[in-house]
Symmetry: C2
Subunit: 97 residues, 2 copies
């Protein structure tokens, strides 16, 4: 299995509506992109002051599944239209497990 | 379920042995700490140049499970003795999913 993790810090002044749009946009990819095996996401529980604000964990069968997701038009649209304008910082990892 | 994610960038000049010690130290916590439900970890597949180097994803039943893990002496020992000296940057998130 290959897991992609993306952690985000929201840009200052972002609204709750915008955050919800990011989450819904990402969630819609689960149905639109065949290779997505599992998707978990959520906001930080604020148990550490230096944690990021929001995170997504997406599982694929293999690296090819991840690469197909990455270049899929529905994914690119969510990244460009929703995530890009909403974030101030990104931390990512793609690992085999 | 509550998932903790930690992404690390290794400090410059770290050896492969030190990286392996971090991974083995973390893996040992799965048996030592009762509330750990699942633990996945791995090195970045280098599909993006700005990704972090290494990541750990740990699942718990609930926030209390995570908090017990965080303050468990075996966990603190791995963080202080192995992870601290090995890392240059950390990105974390704890979320309900």
């Amino acid at each position: 299995m290959v897991r992609q993790i993306v952690l985000l810090r929201w840009r200052e002044g972002i609204s709750e509506e915008e955050k919800t749009e990011v989450a819904l946009g990402l969630r819609s990819l689960e149905e639109k992109i065949e290779g997505v095996r599992a998707m978990k996401m959520g906001s930080d529980l604020r148990v550490r002051s230096d944690n990021f604000d929001f995170g997504i964990s997406v599982d694929f069968d293999d690296k090819e599944g991840y690469l197909a997701y990455r270049k899929h038009p529905a994914h690119l649209e969510v990244v460009e239209r929703l995530i890009g304008p909403a974030m101030a910082e990104r931390a990512g990892l793609v690992f085999e497990c």
